[in-house]
């Protein structure tokens, strides 16, 4: 087994990281040597790098910035591009990455979201898209009104996988139709003004596979369906489902194996029906 071979022969390995000091500054590469331990994941590699803050050539450097949270692939924080592939870094095991031909780890920030610093990117657009499609159940009140509508086991088994989406961004990174939007803050601009401008910029762009899938999730909930037509109206507008070129990249990279293309197909059909209804003045 390769791993065993490494256990004996490798004492350290190389990690190359694409760094960037802040929004708008140029990116650059730094290389680190990390001592090999068994059972390492990319997060523990980054922890070692933070603790030593020294490059492979012995120069002092600042610790690399990155995001993480749960360390068990449910929070969606730690997405990055690892050896060319977008994925969660907490579940990226060094033993698996170093097998075969790859002798080093290459870590890069996602390219579809503005870099904040190093491997940290700004994914506010993902949450904004959930707002756009009104991804919630519009209940009347939080007072006790008894149980919710009955849901069949079959329906639950369709909905549950969709609701596992952790807004990590992998699908958007992989999607050829999803392009980066970066709004530079003007000097002295207030938070409120800046946020408004950013949201306006996001709102004209492709909403992305995760939001389409979430819209389908809520449209199939009995109470969520109360605003189904509003969601479809949004999805039939600019940046909506018609932007999807059906490249299917999204579904292959989703760490939660969410059937995104099924959702997109459903959305496409529902939008067509919605448009017809509008046409005939039924909606």
């Amino acid at each position: 087994m390769i791993k065993d071979a490494y256990d004996q022969t490798i004492s350290s390995f190389t990690v190359r990281i694409e760094r960037q000091d802040g929004p708008g500054s140029p990116s650059y590469w730094e290389t680190f040597d990390v001592t090999y331990e068994s059972d390492m994941n990319v997060i523990s590699v980054l922890q070692r790098i933070a603790a030593m803050s020294e490059t492979a050539t012995g120069e002092k450097t600042t610790p690399v910035a990155w995001s993480c949270g749960c360390l068990e692939e449910v929070c969606g924080s730690c997405t990055m591009v690892i050896n060319g592939k977008v994925r969660q870094s907490c579940s990226a095991l060094v033993d698996n990455l170093l097998d075969g031909t790859d002798q080093e780890l290459v870590l890069q920030p996602m390219s579809k979201f503005p870099v904040v610093r190093d491997l940290v990117v700004d994914r506010q657009r993902i949450f904004r898209s959930l707002q756009r499609v009104e991804a919630w159940v519009p209940v009347d009140t939080y007072y006790d009104m008894g149980p919710g509508p009955k849901v069949s086991r079959a329906q639950q088994e369709i909905n549950y996988p969709l609701s596992e989406c952790m807004s990590c961004g992998c699908c958007m990174e992989a999607c050829p139709q999803y392009t980066k939007v970066e709004v530079v803050r003007a000097d002295g601009e207030s938070d409120a003004d800046y946020d408004k401008r950013v949201n306006e910029a996001y709102d004209t762009q492709f909403i992305g596979p995760q939001a389409i899938s979430q819209a389908m999730l809520f449209n199939s909930h009995p109470t969520g369906a109360q605003i189904a037509e509003e969601r479809l109206e949004l999805l039939s507008g600019p940046g909506g489902v018609q932007v999807c070129g059906n490249a299917q990249n999204c579904v292959t990279v989703c760490p939660k194996e969410i059937p995104l293309t099924t959702s997109i197909a459903r959305a496409g059909r529902a939008v067509t029906v919605h448009k017809f209804k509008k046409w005939f003045g039924k909606s």
């Binding site: 068990e72 929070c75 009104e134 009140t141 919710g148 609701s163 969520g224």
Partner: protein, 659 residues
Amino acid sequence: MSKPRVVIVGGGLAGLSCTMKLCELGVDVDLISLVPVKRSHSVCAQGGINSCNDQTRQIGDTEWKHFDDTVYGGDFLNHQPPVKEMADWAPKVIDLMDRLGVTFNRTQEGFLDRRRFGGTLYKRTAFAGATTGQQLLYGLDEQVRRWESQGKVTKYEHWDFLGPILDENRVCRGAIAQNLRTMEIRSFPADVVVVGSGGPGLVYGRSTMSVMCTGSAASRCFQAGAKYGNGEFIQVHPTAIPGADKLRLMSESARGEGGRVWVPRKPQDSRDPKSIPEDERYYFLESRYPEYGNLVPRDIATREIFDICVNEGLSVEADRLCVYLDLTHIPKPELDRKLGGILDIYQKFQGVDPRDVPMKIFPAVHYSMGGLWTDYERTQAGGLRVASPRNHQTNIENLYAIGECDYHYHGANRLGANSLLSCIFTGLFVAPGIQQKLSGMTKLSSEYATVHKAAQDEHQNRHDSLLKRDGGNENPYLLHQELGQVMTRSATVVRRNDQLAEAYETICDLHERSKNCSLSDTGNWTNQNVVFTKGVMDMFPLAKTIVKGALQRDECRGAHYKPDFQFPPLQATTDQERHREAELWCDRFEENNKKWLKSTIAEFDGEHPQITYEDVDVSIEPPRPRLYGLVGAEVIEQVWNDRRAKRSADVAENQAAAT
């Protein structure tokens, strides 16, 4: 007059449920969180959420029994009125989450499916696959987003809460927080601040918790004068997967669905576990606790696993302590449907499919029963008064604490699937009380501009001097590792006074050294180095509180286990002798309760926690011995029941005589 505002720190289940309920009541909220709230630690919860329900009710369950299981499981250290209120609300909480669209598992007929969890004999636990916490959190996150789109909530995600702002009368007038990207330090005027910042797992280095569970927010309130209760009660979960960066939980639901814990009878038997015949396996939980089997309460399961490995030398592996948790006898489709999420975690991180091969697991630090001290107002009937502004207020006026970071509900040991409940319950329940509080205010925080400015300047100076400090040569990451090691060694499953005393010294030493940390990043843009360093420095007051509380408490209670103070089992062989021993045992139990049935209350003097004790409100159900699996339990129970019957007869007689 401007409108009152509430700042909520933390967007886990507690913070989000409180936010949405306040919005519904017409109160505007600023929501501050280290991470986007959808990524809060609550996503990690796997197993489920408890309530008495239509099914269990028909076989004798009631809200009362849920209450009773919770206080019995908590070894009676829980103040009872909050627990009673929570148990009464539990069915409503689950109904609400169901209405919010949470994808709970369903029965064939479309009702909510339930499973059994530890410390109860009823199937009370509703669940959504093995990602219940994630599903519940998303349900609340969606509602809060809905309010956000209406402008009722302003989120400040990627902000670190640095502490409450207190005026000259030590009344809370807002919060200070720092933007993790721009490093801006800002004061947030607020009439009420609610802290729902979760648990402090990182004080132990590695635990089952997420990386933002540093306890820093609670510690900052503690250092500002808030009391901290029951710090030493830390739950160590029996079943986790050991890992280099994290100890990943293997949920209790694995046992709830029929998982069995065992070790080979032959030490370190190297055969393939599936080829080891039944009679060469030791199912030690089932054999030692025939009634509860693999679902004994967590503290007990943890100690037994620890004991089997450490004292009996039956660990599956020689150089890494672990036992088998076996699901391989359960049909795969059923496993996928009910436990898919956690089994995938095991497979992903261990590279082995637990559907085919028994998992290897060992206990890990998991949950803090202790937390910020908070008040409540009880009713005659024994519950909490709805809309009382006292509910969940800390000893600092206008500062509230909810969720895992407060000290209520779970006593000396939390039952599985009760925490998600306590978090959502408190969030919803405190909102009307806070609204009351606001409506009674004559002077709003907006009139305290100088107080806000002063607090902001003070924190800015502290930050600047931390960045400028040079010459120090301590590495914060290594200090954190050392702290984790000391804490894990001394203050987890088995506690000994000599080790605790030594640990306290070590922690004081580390605390001193932390004041000499040098930063490898002194910039003012997304400086994770300085944020981490501050977080580590704030771990020491909590670490000291945990260890000092444990050192002083000379007894065994729930998760706090000191073998030197354990009551021995009954040994006599004749009935009469046994009865006499049981009488002595009960005397001793009563004596011990007089001394130790008390909440530990810590206040921080800048250097050390000062500890006092507070009576526990056990006015609803009198404490009784917790006897899971003890030799002679039946006799003790009988003696105890006789005493109790006699006592109530006496009371009745006295009352009759008085009238």
